[in-house]
Assembly symmetry: C2
Homo-oligomer: 202 residues x 2
């Protein structure tokens, strides 16, 4: 069974290429297919994020996953299910504000990945991360350290994902094909996940 | 092994959605994943097309494939390797002219799929077609009958493909993820083909 994990509206789901934050790192067209295609794991933090829209996914969350399923595999595409996809595209619920422009930045509230967890993941040799919020750094981030830590290591990010609740914690296989924009710091992304038949219902 | 069969330059490889030629048929965002993802067959006509840039792929070419490999499977994504990918992006060699605009249309010369072959394929219940030229109708086409025949049946077309010479005649699995443009008659396409290890060299 193939699940589309692109958001319904075009332009929502996108790639952040390493070059977006780190000079000298890969642009959208330079990311090798191995970092866009491969086995996925899903770390679910929706119960916690439901109660705290400033939640930062922690090393403890990763430890909990590993206790249940074993070490995060080398080369994994790590997807975070915060449950926020269900708010999309209601900006107030999804992002914390429906204002736009520079003054709105301070009012952004949505979960992201804590920099310590990003360092932990980088140490595991993962190939990419994805999340069902607008950014891999949480809404209140000012330094975007998670972007910097991962992009320094050429680990790209997929943002505004959908339907992660349809995927098992392990066993899915992801194909993420961003538009191949020469020199691009990111771009529109279409992404699907294959789940072995029988593992989930159609 | 995953082969990228998108052309190197962005914007080259694209989807033609059924709506592009037939009212009431699917737009880019409406094409179901099953028509974008599935087993691929490759019909190679490069030896013939090398000698005739107006070549139209015929029912005989399909018959020859079926004699070697059995019936074209229901749901196949049928890819045509004309050998023209090697000329891309040299417009003179690839399209027959480097002129642009309305007057250039009459000077287009590149291979395509003959309408009779298109009808034959539609009868086989295929899911999509792809070709390594600018169009599924040949350059000299005036009525674009192959587009109309296939699109009438909601069979989309992938154009300006690359690296089809890397794929086996059968056994590859294709994932084609066009940009999900609401109401779009087409759009940029990124497409990869998985080939079982051992079948071809890395």
């Amino acid at each position: 069974t193939a699940y589309e994990i692109t958001t319904a509206e075009h332009g929502g789901t996108h790639l952040d290429a390493p070059r977006h934050f780190v000079e000298g790192r890969q642009t959208a067209d330079q990311i090798p297919l191995e970092h866009l295609i491969g086995p996925a794991i899903v770390v679910r933090v929706s119960a916690t994020a439901e109660k705290n829209s400033d939640y930062q996914i922690s090393v403890k969350d990763l430890d909990a996953w590993e206790e249940n399923y074993g070490p995060i595999p080398d080369g994994a595409i790590v997807l975070f299910d915060t449950g926020f996809a269900k708010y999309y595209p209601d900006r107030n619920r999804y992002m914390g504000t429906d204002e736009r422009g520079p003054d709105a930045v301070a009012k952004l509230h949505f979960p992201g990945i804590h920099p310590d967890a990003a360092r932990h993941l980088a140490g595991r040799g993962i190939h990419a991360v994805g999340i069902d919020t607008p950014s891999i750094d949480y809404g209140q981030s000012k330094k975007f350290m998670t972007h910097r830590i991962l992009f320094e290591r050429n680990i790209p990010g997929f943002e505004n994902l959908a339907n992660l609740d349809q995927l098992p914690e392990q066993g899915a296989f992801v194909v993420a094909l961003p538009m191949k924009i020469e020199g691009g710091s990111g771009g529109p992304l279409r992404i699907v996940a294959f789940v072995p038949d029988g593992r989930t219902e159609d």
